[in-house]
């Protein structure tokens, strides 16, 4: 028993001294809180790719915690990161919003950044990327590649972020192919690969020939590959799961954004703000096209991409009708960010319901 106790004391002492040594080198410590396992190829994975890039810098050390349940537990995780003296903490799921604000109040010197929410405080900023711009472009690819004019969309939960993605995708489809329809199936899971694959197969069974997804697993891609259909990925380039099917994917690239935030914190110029950058900043993009996408399709989409980057084209600009055909956005008007954040209706061309 005595030996054991000694061992523990030693272990504790070691960890403390390691912490002291780190302080001496004046490196900046960054914490990441993820909602799902990092190996999911989805949302958390996209953040972790950037974290790994940051880690390559010798003066930055990063720490992460995966699969942190939103709710009471997340507050403790954020709290312990703050206690360990991290300089900047990224909390990357909507449910972390209130816990982040609560912890931030107790640690005014630590910078917090919360993704996908809408609240800020003296030391909490929020950020997200306009991934819907990428969605729109992938929708164009899907609209041009479909032969049956039927596109399937495997979606997770009916929350504004997902609805916004479906709407942008459908606008993209309709922009190049007014006859095409987008059929939505809700799985009510973020991550159940087998179930999400089944959901995609069910769409393929009713005759869609392109599968898009808002899920964290590559299940739907697998289904498209098995059935010889096309697929559109999300979060990261998913072509390795479906080399024959994968047309293109809407992807995140958090590296430049995170590097900039780290730099600001180091220089002391960091300001809490609501940051919602789009394609022009490189935070969102589309992956390289699959080899089956013909040159003219690429050209059409690339041209629109350039217009979006240059600010000449706005995705949610009128006229936009809803599912019932009612005009929701007047010609010449655009939807405000506020309206985008709380989207709860489908645009014309979506077949499916909101629950």
């Amino acid at each position: 028993m005595f030996k054991r106790a000694m061992f523990l004391v030693l272990a504790l002492a070691l960890s403390c001294s390691a912490a002291l040594a780190a302080d001496a080198a004046k490196e900046i410590k960054i914490g990441f809180v993820y909602v799902s396992p990092v190996g999911d190829a989805g949302w958390s994975y996209s953040h972790d790719l950037a974290r790994q890039e940051l880690e390559k810098h010798s003066d930055i050390s990063t720490y992460y915690m995966e699969s942190v349940p939103e709710g009471a537990d997340s507050e403790r995780v954020i709290l312990s990161m703050a206690r360990k003296g991290y300089d900047l903490i990224f909390t990357t799921s909507f449910g972390y919003m209130d816990p982040t604000l609560k912890v931030a109040k107790q640690f005014p010197k630590t910078a917090f950044m919360h993704a996908s929410g809408y609240k800020t405080s003296e030391n909490v900023g929020n950020y997200f990327g306009r991934i819907y711009q990428s969605r729109y472009l992938t929708g164009m690819v899907a609209g041009l590649m479909t032969k049956k004019n039927q596109i399937g969309y495997v979606a997770a939960f009916p929350i504004p972020e997902v609805v916004r993605g479906i709407n942008a995708f459908t606008l993209g489809v309709r922009a190049v192919n007014p006859k095409a329809e987008v059929r939505v199936v809700w799985t009510k899971t973020w991550y159940d690969p087998a179930l999400e694959k089944d959901a995609a197969i069910s769409l393929l069974d009713i005759g869609v020939d392109v599968i898009a997804q808002h899920q964290d697993s590559p299940g739907p891609q697998e289904a498209a590959q098995d059935r010889g259909a096309y697929s559109v990925g999300y979060h990261s380039d998913m072509s390795r799961f479906a080399p024959e099917a994968h047309l293109v994917a809407a992807v995140w690239n958090w590296v430049p954004f995170y590097l900039e935030a780290v730099d600001q914190v180091r220089k002391g110029t960091w300001q809490p703000k609501s940051d919602w950058p789009g394609m022009e900043s490189g935070i969102v993009d589309i992956s390289p096209y699959g080899k089956m996408v013909p040159e003219d399709v690429r050209a059409t989409v690339d041209q629109r991409k350039q217009e979006i980057v240059d600010g000449k084209y706005v995705v949610f600009s009128g006229p936009i009708n809803d599912q019932s055909g009612k005009l929701r956005v007047e010609p010449g008007k655009v939807l405000s960010d506020q309206e985008l954040i709380s989207f709860d209706w489908f645009v014309d061309g979506v077949v499916g319901t909101m629950n």
């Binding site: 504790l12 396992p37 915690m65 709710g71 009471a72 209130d98 009916p158 929350i159």
Partner: protein, 375 residues
């Protein structure tokens, strides 16, 4: 069963021996976890140290551990009561959920009530809802002969789905940008944290003490009072009242109890109701004190942990408190391991599973002894 050895039931329970057995099983499971860390190229000994220091080694560990122990304790207390009557209620999870719904319903419907009505109303409404949900299983069992393990398990899933339906539908807060969360509870429906730094500062306490106390108490809330009350009442009920005696008696022999005129069916419904009420209380306190509104993430499996805790504690109240704190501390501590060693989150489950299995197996040596067989 075993050649050369005979298994003999102990007539007297081990006293201090049981502590030694628990410690041995616990140490064994820590050893296995250390080895598992080594398998993935991490420092196992350091990992175990981080685990223990995270849960129990810092000033601020205790508040967090206590916070997590509250719902586990309450659920487990109720489950243990059912187990005493040989009712295998594994539905504390569902009762916890339905309790939260009952409490939330009250808060959302009567938001304008004064605080002295709103808070008790919320708690009572939660307890009634949880109790009612548990009674469904009790009635199914007594009236229709349905196995309670099955019905409570099924009702757990159904309860969680009802929660999802409400939170994605009627109870969705329009002010929260259509995210699946309920509106915030009004301030008077929020259970306060035990340590209120600004109050004590105004009171004239020195800043150092306030700071230390704030760290020590952390997020622990006044729900701890309900644990003390419920624990004392339960002990008193079981040991000093006729009804409590009947429960223990009926649990050890249902048929004999019926002959003795003990109303068995009513006892079943009563203990199930109490269990559901306690689980519901745990649910609404967790909701009100930590999140201040209803979110789908309120469901984290405390109900299942409660079954395990009740069993490990052999249904005894003080031991339930002990095991609730141990398990809560481990869950808090394992986050420290994850953060420092960057192991995947599944390590937490593995650890908990191993501890449960070794301690469960170890209890054998409490109840039985091995004697050499002489032939």
């Amino acid at each position: 069963m075993m050649s050369g050895w005979r298994i003999v039931s102990r007539t007297e329970p081990r006293e201090w021996g049981s502590v030694v057995i628990f410690a041995a099983a616990f140490a064994l499971s820590l050893l296995i976890c250390g080895l598992l860390l080594q398998v993935q190229g991490k420092d196992g000994a350091l990992g175990v140290g981080l685990l223990l220091s995270g849960g129990f080694g810092h000033l601020y560990s205790y508040g967090e551990t206590l916070l997590k122990a509250i719902p586990i304790f309450l659920c487990s207390l109720g489950v243990a009561l059912c187990f005493r009557l040989q009712i295998w209620n594994i539905g504390a999870e569902g009762q916890y959920v339905i309790g939260t719904l009952g409490g939330t319903w009250f808060v959302l419907t009567f938001a304008s009530l004064p605080g002295w009505l709103l808070l008790p109303g919320m708690l009572i409404s939660a307890m009634l809802a949880g109790g009612f949900w548990a009674c469904v299983s009790a009635v199914l069992r007594q009236r229709f002969g349905m196995n309670e393990i099955i019905s409570t398990l099924m009702l757990n899933y159904i309860g969680i789905e009802i929660l999802k339906y409400l939170i994605y539908g009627p109870w969705r807060d329009p002010a929260a940008m259509n995210f699946p969360v309920s509106p915030y509870f009004s301030d008077s429906a929020v259970i306060a944290q035990i340590w209120n730094s600004s109050f004590w500062l105004d009171f004239g306490l020195s800043e150092n003490i306030v700071d230390v106390m704030a760290q020590l108490c952390g997020r622990a809330h006044w729900g701890i009072l309900s644990c003390l009350i419920a624990g004392c009442l339960c002990s008193f009920f079981l040991q000093k009242t006729r009804l409590g005696y009947e429960i223990t008696a009926a649990g050890s022999n249902a048929k004999a109890a019926r002959f003795a005129g003990i109303p068995y069916s009513r006892l079943v419904i009563l203990v199930m109701f109490i269990c559901g009420a306690l689980a519901g209380l745990a649910g609404i306190q967790e909701c009100s004190a930590t999140l201040e509104r209803l979110e789908p993430h309120i469901v984290v499996g405390y109900g299942y942990t409660a079954v395990v805790v009740a069993w490990l504690a052999k249904l005894r109240t003080v031991r339930i408190a002990f095991f609730a704190i141990i398990l809560a501390g481990l869950r808090v501590g394992v986050e420290n391991v994850q953060l420092e060693l960057q192991v995947s989150n599944s390590f937490a489950n593995t650890l908990e599973g191993i501890i449960l299995i070794t301690v469960l197996a170890g209890q054998f040596f409490n109840d039985y002894s091995l004697k050499r067989k002489f032939s």
